[in-house]
Assembly symmetry: C2
Homo-oligomer: 343 residues x 2
Amino acid sequence: MMKKKISIKDIAKLTDTSITTVSFVLNGKGRISKEISKKILDVAQKNGYEPNRMAVGLRTGVSKVIGLIVESIGGPFFGEMAKVIEEEAEKSGYRIIYCSTNNNLQKGKDMIRMLTQQLVDGYIITPMKGLEKDIQSLVDNEKPVVLIDGYFPGTNIPHVLVDNFASAYNAVDCFVRSGYKNIGMVTADLGLIQLNDRSLGYKAALKDNKLKDSSKMVLKIPFDMDKNEGVEAVKAFIDKQKQMDAVFFTTNYLGTMGLQAIKDLKLRIPEDLAVISFDDNEVFSLYPPGITTIQQPTYDIAKSAIDILMAQINTHKLDASKIDLQIPSKLIERGSTLAKASA
Amino acid sequence: MMKKKISIKDIAKLTDTSITTVSFVLNGKGRISKEISKKILDVAQKNGYEPNRMAVGLRTGVSKVIGLIVESIGGPFFGEMAKVIEEEAEKSGYRIIYCSTNNNLQKGKDMIRMLTQQLVDGYIITPMKGLEKDIQSLVDNEKPVVLIDGYFPGTNIPHVLVDNFASAYNAVDCFVRSGYKNIGMVTADLGLIQLNDRSLGYKAALKDNKLKDSSKMVLKIPFDMDKNEGVEAVKAFIDKQKQMDAVFFTTNYLGTMGLQAIKDLKLRIPEDLAVISFDDNEVFSLYPPGITTIQQPTYDIAKSAIDILMAQINTHKLDASKIDLQIPSKLIERGSTLAKASA
DNA sequence: ACGATTTGGTAAAACGTTTTATTTATTTAG
DNA sequence: CTAAATAAATAAAACGTTTTACCAAATCGT
């Protein structure tokens, strides 16, 4: 069966024309008569001609592929993001090669290097500590790059992410509105700027609400701790913070860990402890009594990232107004932040 | 800054050798003296030479890219799968281009066509109804293909998936062991063979346990129903099946829908209704009292798929013994199937 | 009617590799 | 010492496109 793929040369032969003519017709470039055009188009159609992307890529230097480097394609946040990114990119005729770094610096570096082998036309990357230089060197080499979910302060690498500071600030505000005053936070020790911004938002909100700055009520989970250890750590933390009546988890990973911990401790939500977590997902909407979350605008982030990347790819310039794009999040209020019964 | 990428030709010039020599050294092919080899290697190293994948691909016809076509990269099951697949493929120097079909036939067809443009060396596909011919034609054209999560009966396209029949059978058995006798099922109307196999397993188990065949206790959710409608449908179903004391959801999507429905109806699990769902995930482990699930061996499936695909790619033959690979699942028993209090 | 422009078309180079066939120099066998 | 084998290196073709530069024929303006 194995019909060998047909090339532009074959079409030229079949139509008694030249390679150039065929190429022109297929790309609508030169000026070729209606007649010949039609004949060529017909033959191409009939034989199911598809251009050889390798040849095109070699000749033009354009692969129509973009590289996506995320922490873990398996996670709910990045998974959803990856999906939207693929769908949007497809509209521009681009395909996506992805890889997960698992927050492993070496893997990140390797991936950037791999993809740089003239394989991709641009990058969407979730930055991590230590990757600055590698990414900057991409930018210096005029490779289109957009960061998502994080950024490198003080550089001009375009990035699009949720407004982490405001989001965390709003979370605290929500607790306060519902009458909670001893608000703790559980975050992770990954050196990620986004987590730092969330911490800052939390602290600023505490201050603005004239709540005692509770730096004591903050737990940082070390980055190399596994899920079970994390649960134990959160349990210990909650146990120790006797007066804490609300807790803010800065990632959905931490949030589900937290739920497990709270469940293990047999505490009631929100009576014993009110809860807000970053990143909405099914667990939080389903878990009784419903967990209030900060829902990231996944679609908007992905769409903007692609748009900015495409603009770079097409214009070879980067729009200075699009370097720092922070998109507001949405607070989804559920049972876990019901107004506190006045003591 | 923009140092232009160095080519094999540049290296030849820099070392006073020929293109061929450089290529040979870099690929360890011809026989070149230690001396010259070292010089070339040094220069290549120093200048950060990376081969142009397009040129290599054009010349060799090998892209070192494999195409992954799944229902939705965003889902927990396929997301996890995608992650493992990428990690395993990477070990063989392969990268992954993915796309989500969202169970849309046209998108599936388009994707297969896109990727066929000499862009990928092989495919991992979750099959869907209507895609048989397109996939068969890949196989006929000697493209390496492995199906995951489903298969086409009566074809010899290699596939690896969980043992759906046995898994469903075991679920029913688990209910029975715990004393449940009126076991319903909620499944989807997607025309997917894997769902059909699950239904068959369920029915066989009912029969073997001498339970009345409860074809009345089966709900099929139409494939175009959205989540809210689905929840309503499940609620209506549960409401109508007065005597039903246990229900089996054939996908995790249906399972979470089911939990929502049960929650809305204010039924207790497992006292009012015992529950088992296909596909383990965080929701099920966390949701009180813990939902018993059929955990698919994601890693094993992904690993086997890659192995089989690589074997095809490398040998250009397909190992007849590896065409139908069904891997056992693991039943994770939780609170939702606690032994029934005797009536 | 004659140079100038337009129209329709093509030859050939280039992109960066891999690989076959060949050449030259050196070693080995007898 | 010569023929044969081997070692080291290379020239050139090929992969399938895109694109520049060019050519011949037809059309134009005056």
